[in-house]
């Protein structure tokens, strides 16, 4: 297990190098003008001299490879640079947001996995039953529904119609202090929506996996031995039925990030997703590179986690061989 982690960590280094280099190259090739992004709406009224002066001051005309190297070397010493669009150090810009995005994604992911597994098992227990049909059709509808739409619907229902949950923000808009209670009540809707948008995948995979496992010999054997239905379902079928879900967990990470973007937008959640888009369209090299590194690391870690879980749960897989 330690070997696997060490090997993956080693492999992550070249991957991260290539990805950040690619981010710089793509940003340099993009049609977005960093000077205009920096100046914001003021650019639309600015004269050429001002734009030229900013271009010079920001040093945006230097080749991207040079800028990448500069970023990389100073990043290795712990200095992530200064974000031109956020007007603050990159480390600070990310630090302020990462915690809220992480909280949102972790809660949503945990809910989606747990609820998805529960619904999947319920549906798989009696294929074709009312429960199965309800869960499956619900899952397919949710899969097709845009996250943005679900989010607006949730705001309408819970914040407007029932008036039980806040419509957005991290805390009550008028409040200055971040308290656990406030964050919790403000987290329910966005995390719930994000969870619901991820839910169908887990539900359908678990249903399929557990359904297949129920028809396999080991499970049939367990039933024949007279073991309790509960033990058969949870101890045997679920265990092997969960395997495909584990790989799914890793592969859902990127989508979790894009989903979080929409959810963060609708609920004015002060997370990192909006910053990512802003960094990209503003060609804010230092911020973009740091965020790309972070996202890549998240995906790599997601895959590693899936593999580790796989090794722990599936007796046929030996971690040393991965």
């Amino acid at each position: 297990m330690g070997h696997l982690v060490a090997r993956r960590a080693l492999l992550a280094v070249p991957v991260l190098l290539v990805v950040t280099f690619g981010a710089f190259a793509l940003a340099a090739a993009s049609p977005f003008d960093p000077v205009k992004a920096y100046a914001g709406t003021a650019a639309l009224g600015a004269d050429q001299e001002t734009l030229d002066r900013l271009r010079d001051n920001l040093g945006v005309d230097r080749p991207f490879a040079v800028r990448w190297w500069e970023w990389l070397t100073s990043a290795l010493t712990g200095d992530l640079g200064h974000s031109s669009v956020m007007r603050q150090p990159v480390a600070e810009a990310i630090g302020e947001r990462l915690i809220w995005s992480t909280l949102l994604c972790t809660v949503a992911f945990a809910v989606a996995v747990l609820l998805g597994t529960l619904l999947g098992v319920l549906a798989a227990r009696r294929p074709g039953s009312l429960v199965d049909r309800t869960v499956t059709s619900l899952a397919y509808s949710l899969e097709a529904a845009p996250v943005f739409w679900i989010a607006l619907l949730a705001v309408w229902l819970f914040a407007l119609h029932l008036d039980v949950l806040p419509a957005g923000g991290l805390t009550d808009t008028g409040s200055e202090h971040v308290t656990a209670g406030q964050v919790t009540s403000h987290l329910i809707l966005p995390a719930g929506v994000l969870a619901v948008s991820q839910l169908p995948w887990f539900t359908l995979y678990v249903r399929q996996g557990v359904g297949d496992a129920l028809a396999e010999d080991p499970v049939r054997g367990a039933r024949a031995r007279g073991l309790a239905e509960r033990t058969v379902l949870l101890g045997h079928a679920l265990r092997s039925g969960l395997l495909p879900v584990l790989t799914l967990i890793g592969s859902r990470v990127p989508e979790l990030i894009t989903g979080a973007l929409l959810v963060e937008t609708v609920f004015s959640w002060p997370g990192i997703a909006a910053a990512t888009v802003e960094a990209a369209t503003a060609v804010d090299f230092p911020l973009l590179a740091a965020l790309t590194t972070l996202a890549t690391a998240a995906v790599l870690a997601g895959n590693l986690l899936a593999d580790l879980l796989y090794g722990l749960i599936d007796p046929r897989v030996k971690l040393e061989e991965m």
Partner: protein
């Protein structure tokens, strides 16, 4: 109304609009849901400032809650003293402006304001190394120096009558900002000023919170807490206003209309300098032709655009200055006259072809009109313009694109542009029309070049006598009718909905940019809670 919604709105927008409509009948009862105390106010705005440092351009047009300028503007946009004791003393034929500072003004960290702070602020803004986007607005300044602790003297390169309007620029404390790099220092996000409010928190992309400055030289504000929530999406903003989460918000006309019958909230409609116009590039054979320009100017139905596109929230634009501006020349107002448009085209040899489009010497009267994609109001203006032009036999092809695509083509293709500055006619008009600024960034986009207009701009800029200035700007507006390098279409009103716990409030006439420093909350520090 219904057809407009169906026609234009995207799926999400339609849905949210429908949601808004559904719950509108109940709006009256939950109108008081905001219910917060009258000494705290929460406002929803679409965007936040990039920085809070005046050195980089924050608050340059006044109305900063954290800072004050030497001068400020009242509800009628008249200049009034702020950090300066009185309006400036003008000497040396309009080349020297002397300001005397108000005594006993302190920054929020307790340090007194001195003339050195003023000098530092202006010198840093004028420094080439400072990334200030509006530096050129202070182009006239040759030198600034402190004369003792309480006097500041500006020496200008040329007489500039509009100069005092620039001195609403917020003043920063040298003892704090001077210790940092103005481009990257923490002052950008943690400002210290002399203003009525102190920044207590800035969660980027979410909100800015302020509390009243108890030691404010103008008297402690009655509204003790001020929160500006940043909500980019119009529908989400309307929803949160309805849910009582916000006390007020900036809204587009169709969403503001859903609050019309709400007893607990008031809708404020601010008139503006914010015009929508079509640029007619001099470098294009068709749009550069004066007859075509004049025909287009006569053919457009401005009132229909106000009624149908803006739901009545706006006014026809017969030039860059709005109808109620003191500098507006009343005699340039002209109705739509399609017959006259056709007549002048016929007279000049633009003959109608078989496809209904005119041509002259083998050149078809056709050109492309770009609008920035995603801007619904500009898109609607562009389409209406094309349809009006068609009636006169001119083929306008409307295309949406991003600014990256549009910018390189501005010299050849028409653009549905929007601008407008408050303060002084010189601010908006010079950069819009002067031939020396043709194609200079986003200044004078169509490369407009008319000697009579140039001369009027120069006179308006340099003359000291207001009557001479007025005459110059009258000439300019008439010259624009003879040679319209832009087709001015509408001035759009900005709409705000606000809980009425604070009684009747005012709005200023607003520039193109709005949201944060304008709206009824432009003077929140002066509000008197009713209950």
């Amino acid at each position: 109304m219904t057809t407009r919604r169906i026609k234009g709105a995207a799926v999400a927008a339609t849905m949210a609009a429908a949601v808004a409509a559904c719950s509108a009948p109940g709006g009256g009862t939950d109108g008081a849901a905001g219910g917060g105390s009258a000494d705290s106010v929460v406002i929803g705005v679409p965007s936040e400032p990039d920085t809070l440092s005046p050195l980089l351009g924050y608050g340059k047009d006044g109305n900063s809650k954290i800072f004050d300028g030497l001068l400020a503007r009242d509800a009628d946009l008249e200049l009034e003293p702020a950090l300066a004791k009185a309006l400036p003393e003008i000497t040396d034929d309009g080349r020297t402006y002397t300001y005397t500072l108000r005594p006993d003004v302190k920054f929020s960290d307790g340090e007194p304001l001195t003339a050195e702070d003023v000098v530092y602020t202006y010198e840093t803004v004028l420094d080439d190394k400072t990334n200030n986007t509006a530096k050129s607005e202070l182009d006239a300044v040759k030198e600034i120096r402190a004369d003792g602790d309480d006097k500041v003297v500006f020496t200008l390169k040329y007489p500039y009558a509009a100069f005092p309007a620039r001195t609403v620029l917020p003043i920063v404390p040298e003892h704090v900002a001077g210790e940092q790099d103005p481009n990257t220092g923490v002052f950008n996000t943690a400002p210290i000023g002399t203003g009525p409010y102190l920044l207590t928190g800035w969660s980027k992309g979410e909100k800015l919170t302020f509390k009243a400055n108890p030691d404010y030289w103008g008297g402690a504000p009655k509204v003790k807490k001020l929160t500006m929530a940043i909500i980019a999406d119009d529908d989400v903003r309307a929803t949160r206003l309805r849910s009582g989460d916000l006390d007020g918000a900036t809204l587009p006309p169709n969403l503001a209309a859903t609050f019309k019958n709400d007893d607990g909230r008031k809708t404020y409609q601010a008139t503006t300098y914010d015009f929508r116009a079509v640029t007619l590039p001099t470098g294009n054979k068709i749009t550069g032709d004066t007859t075509i320009r004049r025909a287009l100017d006569l053919a457009v139905d401005r009132q229909a655009m106000v009624d149908k596109i803006l739901d009545g929230a706006g006014r026809p634009a017969y030039g860059p200055l709005p109808l109620d501006d003191p500098w507006y020349a009343k005699d340039v107002e002209r109705p739509q006259d399609l017959a006259e448009a056709k007549k002048i085209l016929d007279r000049d040899g633009w003959k109608t072809g078989t496809d209904g489009i005119r041509a002259k010497d083998g050149t078809r009267a056709a050109f492309t009109l770009f609008y920035p994609s995603g801007d619904k109001v500009r898109q609607d203006h562009a389409l209406a313009y094309a349809s009006d032009a068609k009636k006169a036999g001119i083929d306008v092809k409307v295309e949406g694109a991003t600014w990256e695509v549009i910018e390189p083509r501005m010299g050849k293709d028409a653009v549905l542009a929007g601008f407008g500055s408050t303060g002084d006619p010189d601010f908006g008009l010079y950069t819009l029309l002067h031939s020396s600024l043709a194609g200079d960034g986003f200044n004078n986009m169509p490369h407009y070049d008319d000697p009579a207009v140039d001369e009027a701009l120069e006179t308006g800029r340099r003359a000291q006598n207001p009557d001479d200035r007025k005459a110059a700007y009258d000439d300019l507006q008439r010259a624009l009718v003879k040679n319209p390098g832009y087709t001015f279409l509408t001035h759009i009103d900005h709409l705000y909905v606000l809980d009425d716990r604070w009684g009747d409030l005012t709005t200023q006439v607003e520039p193109h940019e709005h949201g944060f420093a304008s709206g009824p909350w432009w003077n929140a520090e002066d509000w008197q809670p009713e209950k």
